[in-house]
Every structure is written in C-alpha cells, then in structure tokens.
C-alpha cells in the first residue's frame, strides 16, 4: 500500500506562518524578521533604530535566543514592549514560537514588530515566521566573503544592513565585494551601511521602515 503525498515537509510551519501573517495584516502591523550571526549587532541596531522612530510608529520586539533574557532586558529599558523566547537549544525561531510570543503582546498597539531571530546565518533561512520583511545584518568584522559563503540567507532577504562601519579602517572589509555579491544573489534587496554605535546611517533604515509602516496601514502609532 503506497500513499503518494507530494507535499512540502515544512507545510505545518508554512501554514502557521500564513496565519501569523494574516493576523499581522489584520492588526496593521509591519513585521520584520531580523537575522544575522551572533554578535553582528542585531540588538544594538534595534536600540539605535527605536531611538530614531521618533514616536512615528509604535515598536515591539520579540527576542529569540537559546537562553537568557539579556536582550529582552536591553529592549525593556527603552520602554518598548518585548517578549523573550528561549529556544533551549533550537537554532532558529519557527512560526509556532512566534505565534505564542504574539499572544503576550497587544498587537493593537503596535505598528512595527521586529522579531530578532537566533544568531545564525544558516538555519534561520528555512523558516517563515509570517514576517513581511526579512532583514539580514552583516557586520564588517565578520568579513566581506560571507554573502558568497552563506548565500541562502542573503538570497532570501529584502534588505542587507552592513553594520559596524566605524570598524572598517581597522580591517580589510570591502563593501564593493559585498555589494557585487548581493547584486547577483538578491538584485531587488536594499543595502544600507551603518554604525549603530555612532548612529551613522541608522536614520535611512528607520525612514525606510516607517515608509513601509505607513503604506501598510495608513496609520501612525504613538
């Protein structure tokens, strides 16, 4: 007895991601899946971003880490609603975890929800969380060859943020190489260069996201 299934294996995750997305659309929340290596500056970027939203959109954050509430505490200090997910070993967030975390947030009061994924350039590529935008961060200290070496995550991203540009003088990072690799892999993706530490280049990302928020709902939070 043979059953021909011919179905996607992660269908369960995709279905739930679809439900998450429908809920986000209904509430008018723009949702970003923020991915990148451990230590690339995801949380530091978020801190810099929140400061530049200027009350033009109400943010909330879901933090994904294997353990600890270190990141959630940093976000909480900014007065931003935050939920910490501890994956206890899992290398990525999935749609189920995000659905559960959203239950702990009042999405009616949120315009921009950023889901900071587990620091990982590989596994996070395979799991749709229900986001509208996937943004990948690459810090200059990681090296300019990472787009070519971990192509899947970059290919599937809507924007690349090159962070820690203040460290460029101390290394041999070539933005040209990254730009060329991104152009080939993800020609439609936006590319931003910034230093969350100095604040340089963060505002254009904030403005881009704010523009997307407004386009989604025509509603200004605060």
């Amino acid at each position: 007895m043979k059953i021909i299934a011919a179905k996607k294996i992660l269908r369960a995750n995709e279905e739930l991601a679809g439900k998450n997305r429908a809920q986000f659309n209904e509430k008018g929340v723009l949702v970003v899946n923020l991915v990148g290596s451990p230590g690339c500056g995801k949380t530091t970027f978020l801190e810099a971003l929140v400061a530049r939203l200027d009350g033009r959109a109400a943010p909330a954050v879901i933090e994904g880490d294997l353990a600890s509430t270190i990141d959630a505490q940093r976000i909480e200090k900014l007065g931003v609603p935050v939920v910490q997910i501890n994956t206890e070993g899992a290398c990525h967030l999935d749609a189920t975890m995000v659905a559960a975390a959203c239950d702990a947030l009042d999405l009616n009061r949120v315009d921009l929800l950023v889901i900071e994924n587990v620091g990982n350039l590989v596994c996070t590529a395979g799991f749709d969380l229900g986001e509208h935008l996937r943004i990948v961060i690459l810090s200059t200290s990681e090296g300019d060859d990472k787009v070519a070496k971990y192509p899947t995550i970059f290919q599937k991203s809507d924007a690349l943020l090159v962070t820690k540009t203040d460290l460029v003088p101390y290394g041999d990072f070539s933005i040209d190489r990254v730009t060329a690799d991104m152009k080939r892999l993800a020609p439609g993706a936006r590319l931003f260069q910034l230093s969350a530490r100095t604040g340089e280049g963060v505002q254009p990302v904030a403005d881009w996201l704010l523009g997307k928020c407004r386009r989604r709902e025509g509603r200004l939070g605060g």
């Binding site: 007895m1 043979k2 059953i3 021909i4 299934a5 011919a6 179905k7 996607k8 294996i9 992660l10 269908r11 369960a12 995750n13 899992a90 290398c91 990525h92 999935d94 590989v122 596994c123 590529a125 395979g126 799991f127 070519a148 192509p151 899947t152 290919q155 690799d181 152009k183 080939r184 892999l185």
Partner: protein, 115 residues
C-alpha cells in the same frame, strides 16, 4: 541543526497522511526529496531520523532521500546547467544574468505501508 525540527515535522506529517488514508500499519518505506539548494544537510536528516523514528510508526521504515539538482538558466549564453550548489554566475560563460529553477524544496513524496 534545523534538520531535527524538519524531521519532527516530517514524522508528524507522515502520521497525519497515514491516518487520513484510513489504513493501519507501519511504514516500510518513506521517500522524500531534499533539494540541493534547500540548505538542508542530508546526513543530518538521516541522523535525526535514526534518533526520532523509533517509537513511531516509522520505526522500521527505510528512508529514501532523492536530492534533485537545480537548473541555472543563463540569459546571456542561453545555457541550461544542472547545479549542485548555489551559483551567482553562469558556470558556462560567467554572466550574472541567470535565473535558478528548482532544487529548493523539501518534499514528502510517498509513504509505503506494510500490507
């Protein structure tokens, strides 16, 4: 090791398919496809399957994994090349004007039950 959650999801899905078919019985053979560009490691899938299948209806299942390649179509030289890994330029002429087709999916193809 996202292969673990993929295999967990796979086993759940097989259980659902078998229940829906209205047949009882254990699975003797399971066919899946792991596209070469899916970013999923086949050895890790096998390892996770060995650990997770016992105590399920897949305990005795023979896991068969197909690894379909992707096709790179080049606009510049019109070559169609089968590829094993992600490329950013045409392997034939080096042009960046390419589109990649297939090789991305993880599929549950078929389930064979003991008669």
């Amino acid at each position: 090791m996202h292969e673990f959650s993929i295999v967990e999801s796979l086993i759940e899905q097989v259980q659902q398919e078998v229940t829906r078919s209205g047949h009882d019985g254990r699975v003797v053979r399971l066919d899946i496809s792991v596209g070469r560009l899916s970013g999923v490691n086949v050895d890790s899938i096998r390892f996770a399957f060995e650990l997770l299948a016992p105590d399920t209806l897949l305990a005795d299942a023979d896991l068969q994994i197909a690894e379909p390649k992707a096709v790179c179509r080049c606009k510049a030289c019109e070559a169609k090349t089968k590829i094993d890994e992600l490329v950013v330029v045409c392997p034939v002429c080096g042009s960046g004007e390419i589109t990649l087709e297939g090789g991305q999916d993880l599929l549950l193809d078929s389930i064979e039950l003991k008669d």
